[in-house]
C-alpha cells in the first residue's frame, strides 16, 4: 500500500486537494500519522480539516452555546443527537460555508463551517430519517443561500430514497446581508416542501423563533409541533403589528405555542421543553410510514387483538342528550391505550390522532360529544380533513367513530364559510382509498352522517352500536316539521324515536354492515384491518384533484 502513496504523481494529487474533499479517507490515514510520505501541505490540510470540524461542532462558539442553554434551549447538534438513535447520525455538508461577501461577511471570523444549520440523516428506532436542525448560535440561525442549499440537499435525498424529513426550526429569519439570495433559499425549500408533500412525511418542530417567510416551510409540512415558552411562529412580530394595526401584543400571545395549539390551529401539539419535545417526536415518528410507497408500520403488539372491552357496553349514556368522552372509547379500543392525539386543544369537538390496532398504525377520527355536542363546524372540519388526507396519502387506515348531531348552525359559521370548509372533510373522506372503518356510536344526523366516512363515501366496513341513531335530524326537530300543527307532539315524537332513533333504518338498507356489541369493537376492527391490508382502490386519473380550499 505504502508504495502507492510514495508515488509522486499521487502525492501531487493529494497536495492539490482542497479541504473537504478527502473526508472519507481520513479515518484510515490517522493511524498512519507518522508515515514519512506526508507532505507538508498534506499535513496542513489534515490540520485544517480537524480544525474546521472542531469549529463546525462548536457552531457559533462556546459563548453563544452557553447563551442558548441559558434560554433553556439545546444546541442544534444536541437536538439532533437526542432525536436520533445513538451514533446513527451521518452529517452532510459540515464544511459548507456561506458565500456572502458584503458587509464584511467575507471575513474569516464571519465564516462558520456548516453555516447556521446542521443537516444529515440518521435513524429513529432503526428507521431512516433525514433531519435538519437550524443553529441559532450561528447568526441567529438565519437562513443564507448556503443554509438553504444544505436543507434542499437532504430533502432531495429523502425524496429519492423515500424517507421522512424532520426539521428542527430555530432561526431568526432571512440572512439580511445576503438579500435576495436568502429569499431564493426559502423558495427553494418551499418548492421541495410542496413536491415532497404526500411523498414522504415532513415534520417541523419549532424550537425557537420562526418568523416572516420562514413560517411557510413548517406550514407546508404535514405536522408542526412547538416547544412551550421558547418557540414563536408569526408572519410579523409584535413591533410591526403595533405600528400597522396599533395592537399591543406580546410574542407569546401573538405566536406562542398556546396561541397556535388552541386558537389558530397552526401547530399540532406543544411540549414542555426541548427534551420532552424531541423524545415525543421519536415516539410520534414510530407511527409513521417512511414514504407513500411503504405500508403503515406494524410494531410488535402485546395487547391481544381479540380483547373484549366490557366497559364500552355502558359508555354511551341512556339519555341521548348526555355527553360522554369519545377519548374513553378510543383509549379502550386501541392497543395499550396508547393514542397520540393531534391538535388536542384545538377544535376539540373532533378528536384525531394516531394509534395502533394489533400493532398496525391507524388514524383515528371521532366526534367528541363532550365538546359542543360533537358537532361539525369550520375548525373541526378543517382539522379532520387535513388529518384524513395525511392518512390517505401515507397508507394509514382510518377508523372513524361517529356521534355527530350535525353541522353547527349560525351566522358566524355561515359567514365563515362552513359550506366550503365542511366540504373539505367530506372531500377528504370521499377521496380516501385507504381502508376505512366506521363505527356509529350514537347520533349520525343529517349531512354530517354522510360526511363521517359513511358507506356512501366508500366506507369499507361500517358498524353501528345498538345505541346508534341514523336520521336526518333529532326527534324533536323532525316532529315539528313532519307533524306541524299536530296536537299530540309527544306521541309523534315517540313514533319518530321508535322508527328512527335506532340503527335499523340504516342496517336494513345496508348502510351499516352490522350492528355490533360495543365490547366486541376492538376485536372486529382488528380482524377487518387484517383483511383490508390488501385493499386496492384507485381514483380516476387526474393531474391533481381540486379540494375546495
Amino acid at each position: 500500500m505504502d508504495q502507492i502513496y510514495k508515488d509522486t504523481k499521487h502525492r501531487k494529487f493529494l497536495a492539490q486537494v482542497k479541504h473537504g474533499a478527502v473526508v472519507a479517507a481520513l479515518p484510515q490515514s490517522s493511524s498512519q500519522r507518522d508515515c514519512r510520505w506526508y507532505s507538508v501541505s498534506n499535513l496542513s490540510v489534515k490540520e485544517r480539516i480537524e480544525k474546521k470540524r472542531k469549529a463546525a461542532l462548536l457552531g457559533g462558539g462556546q459563548k453563544r452555546i452557553d447563551a442558548q442553554h441559558k434560554k433553556g434551549k439545546l444546541t442544534a447538534r444536541e437536538r439532533v443527537e437526542l432525536l436520533l438513535d445513538p451514533e446513527s447520525f451521518v452529517e452532510s455538508d459540515m464544511f459548507l460555508e456561506h458565500r456572502c461577501s458584503d458587509f464584511g461577511m467575507e471575513q474569516d471570523k464571519n465564516k462558520f463551517p456548516g453555516d447556521s444549520v446542521v443537516t444529515g440523516r440518521g435513524r429513529i428506532n432503526g428507521r431512516l430519517v433525514y433531519v435538519f436542525s437550524q443553529d441559532f448560535t450561528v447568526f441567529g440561525g438565519s437562513l443564507s443561500g448556503a443554509h438553504a442549499q444544505k436543507i434542499c440537499k437532504i430533502m432531495d435525498q429523502a425524496m429519492t430514497v423515500g424517507a421522512p424529513v424532520i426539521g428542527l426550526n430555530d432561526s431568526g429569519g432571512a440572512r439580511i446581508q445576503e438579500g435576495v439570495e436568502s429569499l431564493a433559499g426559502y423558495a427553494d425549500i418551499f418548492l421541495r416542501n410542496v413536491l415532497a408533500s404526500g411523498v414522504v412525511p415532513q415534520i417541523s418542530l419549532i424550537m425557537g423563533p420562526c418568523a416572516g417567510g420562514a413560517v411557510y416551510s413548517p406550514a407546508l409540512t404535514d405536522f408542526t409541533f412547538m416547544v412551550k415558552d421558547t418557540s414563536y411562529l408569526f408572519i410579523t412580530g409584535p413591533d410591526v403589528v403595533k405600528s400597522v394595526t396599533n395592537e399591543d401584543v406580546t410574542q407569546e400571545e401573538l405566536g406562542g405555542a398556546k396561541t397556535h395549539t388552541t386558537v389558530s390551529g397552526v401547530a399540532h401539539r406543544a411540549f414542555e421543553n426541548d427534551v420532552e419535545a424531541l423524545l415525543n417526536l421519536r415516539e410520534f415518528f414510530n407511527f409513521l410510514p417512511l414514504s407513500n410507497q411503504d405500508p403503515a408500520p406494524i410494531r410488535e403488539c402485546h395487547d391481544p387483538n381479540d380483547r373484549l372491552v366490557p366497559a364500552l357496553d355502558t359508555i354511551v349514556p341512556f339519555e341521548s342528550t348526555k355527553a360522554y368522552d369519545m377519548l374513553d372509547i378510543v383509549h379502550a379500543i386501541v392497543d395499550e391505550r396508547d393514542f397520540f392525539e393531534i391538535m388536542p386543544n384545538y377544535a376539540k369537538n373532533i378528536v384525531v390522532g394516531f394509534a395502533r390496532m394489533n400493532g398496525r398504525t391507524v388514524g383515528i377520527v371521532g366526534n367528541q360529544p363532550k365538546v359542543a355536542s360533537g358537532c361539525l363546524d369550520i375548525n373541526s372540519s378543517v382539522k379532520g380533513a387535513r388529518f384524513v388526507r395525511f392518512c390517505d396519502a401515507f397508507n394509514i387506515p382510518i377508523i372513524t367513530f361517529v356521534d355527530v348531531p350535525g353541522f353547527l348552525p349560525g351566522t358566524a359559521q355561515e359567514y365563515g364559510g362552513i359550506i366550503r370548509h365542511g366540504a373539505k372533510l367530506l372531500y377528504a373522506f370521499a377521496e380516501a382509498t385507504v381502508p376505512k372503518i366506521t363505527v356509529i356510536t350514537r347520533k349520525a344526523y343529517g349531512g354530517a352522517y354522510d360526511v363521517m366516512s359513511s358507506k356512501h363515501l366508500r366506507g369499507d366496513v361500517n358498524y353501528a352500536w345498538p345505541t346508534a341513531e341514523v336520521a336526518v335530524m333529532g326527534a324533536k326537530g323532525a316532529v315539528q316539521i313532519i307533524f306541524r300543527g299536530k296536537e299530540n307532539q309527544a306521541e309523534a315524537e315517540a313514533e319518530y324515536v321508535d322508527k328512527f332513533a335506532n340503527p335499523f333504518p340504516a342496517a336494513v338498507r345496508g348502510f351499516v354492515d352490522d350492528i355490533i356489541e360495543p365490547s366486541t369493537t376492538r376485536k372486529k376492527i382488528c380482524r377487518d384491518l387484517e383483511v383490508l391490508a390488501s385493499k386496492k382502490q384507485v381514483n380516476p386519473w387526474k393531474k391533481h384533484a381540486n379540494i375546495p380550499l
Partner: protein, 710 residues
C-alpha cells in the same frame, strides 16, 4: 348479534336482558365461603325487592338466586345500567340521582313493590334499612321487611333510647347525657359536666356521619353546628346527644342473629378499630384482643340486648373496648353491616339467607355451640378516595380499567361496579369490600397483600396504598391497634409507602428494565425490509432514573427476559414477561416474586409504577437525555398558599367570605359537601380575599378554583 331482525323497540330491551344474565364467577367464588348448605325445601318468598344499590344489592341478589327467589332491583336514573340492575330479574327506576329523590323515596319504592308484586323487601344497609317509617309502611301493605320489627328499629335506632334499654338489660354503657341537646351553649355545659373529651353525635346517626369529637368549648360549639347540619342532611333529624369520649379505644362489635321465636345467637366479634373520621377502613374477625371469656361476656350481653327488644334478624351490637378489656355498649345496628362477610367467612353462615329465613318466620337452625371460629378473615374497604388527603377524601370518575383479584383463592370481593362504571358524587364512594381469609391471621394477611397488589383499578383515585400500608404495618400485624391507629401511626398524614434503600433499588431497577423493554419493543417493526440490518441494541444501557428530586445513574444489561440493573452500587436482577399491554407487571426481583402495576408510561420517559401498594412516579432518561435535561428550565409551580382549590368534587354548601374580606389563618372560607360529608376549607395564612369563584349550591370538581387570596 342477538338483536338481528328484531323489531327496533325490542332491541334495547334485549340488550338489557342479555346483561341481566348472572355472572357465574361471582357465584362460584361465593359458594366456597358458606359451610351451611341451603335447604331447598324451605319455602320462603317468591320475589324480593332490594331497596338499595351497589355492592350490598348485588350481595343480596346473589343469595336470592341461590335460594331460587326472584329479585327486583330499584335504581335511580343514573344507575340504570348499574351491576345490581343487570343482576336482578326485574328493575324499577325510582327517581333521579339524588338519594332523597330515589333510594330514599318511599313512595316510589312502595309503587315499585306494588307493581312488581314483591313479597318482601331487603333494605341492605344505609338508605331505608333503619327507617321505622318504611318498615311500618311495608307492614301496612302486608309486605315483609327483611330485618327486625319496627319496635326494635325504633328502640335501637335512637341512641338515647337504646342506651337506656341497654342499661336496663344490664349491658355496660358509657357515661353520658341521656337526652337531646338543643343549643350549642347547652352542649358546652353538658360537655363540661361530663368532662372533656366528649363525643357529639346525631341521635339518629350511624356510619360516622354527624359525629364530632370535642376537646374544649370552642370545638363543642363548632361540632354542634356541623353535626346538626350533617344529621339534618343525612337523616332528616338534627337531634344530637353528647357522651364521654373514650380515648384510644378499640371498636369491637358482636354479630347477633335472632329469630321470631325468642332464639338469639352471637356469631362472634368483628374488630373494626381501623377507622378514619369514624368510618371503618379495615375490619377483621376474630379480634386479636379478645380472650374467650371476654368474647363470651360481650356475646352474652349482646344477646341479652337483642332479647330485651325482641330482636329478630341479623344485627350488630357495637362496643368500645378500652385497654383493660372493659367494654361499653356503643349502639346497636339493626341491619346487615357492611363488614358482615368476615363473620360469614369464619362462621360459614350466609347471613342474608338467615335473614330471609327468619323474616319468613323460620326458627334458627343453629345453637350457640354450633357457631365456630374457623380461621381468620380480613376485610379491606376499597374506596374511590384519595388517601393522601385526610386519610381519604372522595374522588370520582369512570373505572376505565377494573380487575378484581378473584382469580386468587381465599379471596372474596363484594362489589357493585364493573369496568366502565361511574363513581359519582351522588353515592358512597366504596368500590368494593375485599375479603381474604386463611387458617391463621398471618395467612389471611399475606393473602390480603397479594390481593391488593393484584387489584387493578384505573380511572379513579383509590385507597389501596393506605390499605396495604395498614395491613403490613408492624403495629397492625402485632394487633396493637385502636381507633386512633391512623392518626397515631401517621401523625403528619398518610404519605404512601416509605421506601428503604433495598426497596428503592428494586423500584428503580424495575422502572429501568421496563423502560429498556419498551425501547427495544419500539424497534421491532414487523415485516419491514427497510429497518437497518445492523443491530441497534447496545450491550449496556446507561440510564438515569429520577425518583422525586434524586437522580440515580443506572446501567442495564439484558439477557433474554432478565435484566441486570446496576443501581446505587448494587446489582439487581429483574425478570419478567414484560408485557407492555397488561396493567399487571409480575416480576421476579432478585429471586423474590413481586406484583407491580404499570400505571402509565409516556414518551418523555415518565413511568408510574404501583409498587408495594403505592404509586411512584419515576422518570427514566438515557444518560444523554438526562445531561441535556439539566439545561431545561424548571417551570414554576403555582403558589398554593394564595389560592384555594376544591380538594374533591362536591357541592358548595356555604361561602363564608367575600372579596375584600380579611381572613385569619385557619378561618373557614367555605364548606364543601361531598358524599354527605361536610368539609370546612380554611385559609392557610392570614390574607385579604382577592376574589371568590364559587357560590353556595354550585357543584365543583376536584381542583376547581374556589377563592383567591391576595
Amino acid at each position: 348479534m342477538a338483536s338481528h331482525g328484531l323489531s327496533p323497540s325490542l332491541n334495547r330491551l334485549l340488550l338489557a336482558l342479555k346483561y341481566a344474565t348472572f355472572q357465574p364467577r361471582c357465584c362460584a367464588v361465593h359458594k366456597a365461603h358458606y359451610s351451611t348448605v341451603y335447604n331447598g325445601n324451605e319455602k320462603t318468598f317468591d320475589k324480593i325487592l332490594i331497596a338499595n344499590r351497589g355492592e350490598i344489592a348485588c350481595r343480596v341478589i346473589k343469595t336470592c338466586k341461590k335460594m331460587g327467589i326472584q329479585t327486583v332491583a330499584v335504581h335511580s336514573d343514573v344507575d340504570s345500567s348499574a351491576v345490581h340492575v343487570k343482576m336482578a330479574d326485574e328493575a324499577v327506576c325510582v327517581g333521579p340521582a339524588p338519594t332523597s329523590k330515589s333510594y330514599l323515596n318511599m313512595d316510589a319504592i312502595m309503587d315499585a313493590i306494588r307493581s312488581t308484586g314483591a313479597q318482601a323487601v331487603h333494605p341492605g344497609y344505609g338508605f331505608l334499612s333503619e327507617n321505622k317509617e318504611f318498615a311500618k309502611r311495608l307492614a301496612a301493605e302486608g309486605v315483609t321487611f327483611i330485618g327486625p320489627d319496627t319496635h326494635a328499629i325504633q328502640a335501637m335506632g335512637d341512641k338515647i333510647e337504646s342506651k337506656l334499654i341497654a342499661k336496663a338489660a344490664k349491658v355496660n354503657t358509657i357515661p353520658g347525657f341521656d337526652g337531646v341537646v338543643k343549643t350549642a351553649e347547652e352542649a358546652v355545659k353538658i360537655a363540661q359536666d361530663i368532662g372533656y373529651p366528649v363525643m357529639i353525635k346525631a341521635s339518629a346517626g350511624g356510619g360516622g356521619k354527624g359525629m364530632r369529637i370535642a376537646w374544649n368549648n370552642e370545638e363543642t360549639r363548632e361540632g354542634f353546628r356541623f353535626s346538626s347540619q350533617e344529621a339534618a342532611s343525612s337523616f332528616g333529624d338534627d337531634r344530637l346527644l353528647i357522651e364521654k369520649y373514650i380515648d384510644n379505644p378499640r371498636h369491637i362489635e358482636i354479630q347477633v342473629l335472632a329469630d321470631k321465636h325468642g332464639n338469639a345467637l352471637w356469631l362472634n366479634e368483628r374488630e373494626c378499630s381501623i377507622q378514619r373520621r369514624n368510618q371503618k377502613v379495615v375490619e377483621e374477625a376474630p379480634s386479636t384482643f379478645l380472650d374467650p371469656s371476654t368474647r363470651r361476656a360481650m356475646g352474652e350481653q349482646a344477646v341479652q340486648l337483642a332479647k330485651a327488644v325482641q330482636y329478630s334478624s341479623a344485627g350488630t351490637v357495637e362496643f368500645l373496648v378500652d385497654s383493660k378489656k372493659n367494654f361499653y355498649f356503643l349502639e346497636m345496628n339493626t341491619r346487615l353491616q357492611v363488614e358482615h362477610p368476615i363473620t360469614e367467612c369464619i362462621t360459614g353462615l350466609d347471613l342474608v339467607e338467615q335473614m330471609i329465613r327468619v323474616a319468613k318466620g323460620y326458627k334458627l337452625h343453629h345453637k350457640q355451640e354450633d357457631i365456630p371460629i374457623n380461621g381468620w378473615a380480613i376485610e379491606s374497604r376499597v374506596y374511590a378516595e384519595d388517601p393522601y388527603k385526610s386519610f381519604g377524601l372522595p374522588s370520582i370518575g369512570r373505572l376505565s380499567q377494573y380487575q378484581e383479584p378473584v382469580n386468587l383463592c381465599n379471596v372474596r370481593v363484594d362489589s357493585g361496579i364493573q369496568e366502565g362504571s361511574d363513581i359519582s358524587i351522588y353515592y358512597d364512594p366504596m368500590i368494593s369490600k375485599l375479603v381474604t381469609y386463611g387458617a391463621t391471621r398471618a395467612e389471611a394477611l399475606s393473602k390480603m397483600e397479594d390481593a391488593l397488589d393484584n387489584y387493578v383499578i384505573r380511572g379513579v383515585t383509590h385507597n389501596i396504598p393506605l390499605l396495604r400500608e395498614i395491613i403490613t404495618h408492624p403495629r397492625f400485624i402485632s394487633g396493637d391497634i385502636s381507633t386512633n391507629f391512623l392518626p397515631e401511626v401517621y401523625p403528619d398524614g398518610f404519605k404512601g409507602h416509605q421506601l428503604e434503600a433495598s426497596t428503592r433499588r428494586e423500584l428503580l431497577a424495575s422502572a429501568a428494565a421496563l423502560h429498556v423493554a419498551s425501547q427495544l419493543r419500539s424497534q421491532r417493526i414487523l415485516g419491514n425490509q427497510r429497518v437497518s440490518n445492523s443491530p441497534v441494541e447496545c450491550s449496556c444501557w446507561e440510564l438515569v432514573v429520577k425518583l422525586g428530586k434524586e437522580a440515580h445513574p443506572v446501567t442495564v444489561t439484558r439477557s433474554g427476559n432478565t435484566y441486570t440493573v446496576e443501581v446505587d452500587g448494587e446489582r439487581v436482577e429483574v425478570c419478567g414477561q414484560w408485557s407492555l399491554a397488561s396493567p399487571l407487571l409480575p416480576l421476579t426481583i432478585n429471586n423474590t416474586h413481586r406484583m407491580l402495576q404499570s400505571l402509565s408510561r409516556d414518551a418523555s420517559g415518565e413511568i408510574v409504577l404501583q409498587y408495594l401498594g403505592t404509586s411512584f412516579k419515576v422518570r427514566v432518561l438515557s444518560k444523554l437525555a438526562a445531561e441535556l435535561n439539566s439545561y431545561m428550565p424548571e417551570k414554576v409551580p403555582e403558589d398554593t398558599t394564595s389560592i384555594l382549590r376544591s380538594p374533591m368534587p362536591g357541592t358548595v354548601v356555604a361561602v363564608s367570605v367575600k372579596a375584600g374580606d380579611t381572613v385569619a389563618e385557619g378561618q373557614e372560607i367555605c364548606v364543601i359537601e361531598a358524599m354527605k360529608m361536610q368539609n370546612s376549607l380554611t385559609a392557610v395564612r392570614q390574607a385579604k380575599v382577592k376574589s371568590v369563584h364559587c357560590k353556595a349550591g354550585e357543584t365543583v370538581g376536584e381542583g376547581d378554583l374556589l377563592v383567591e387570596l391576595e
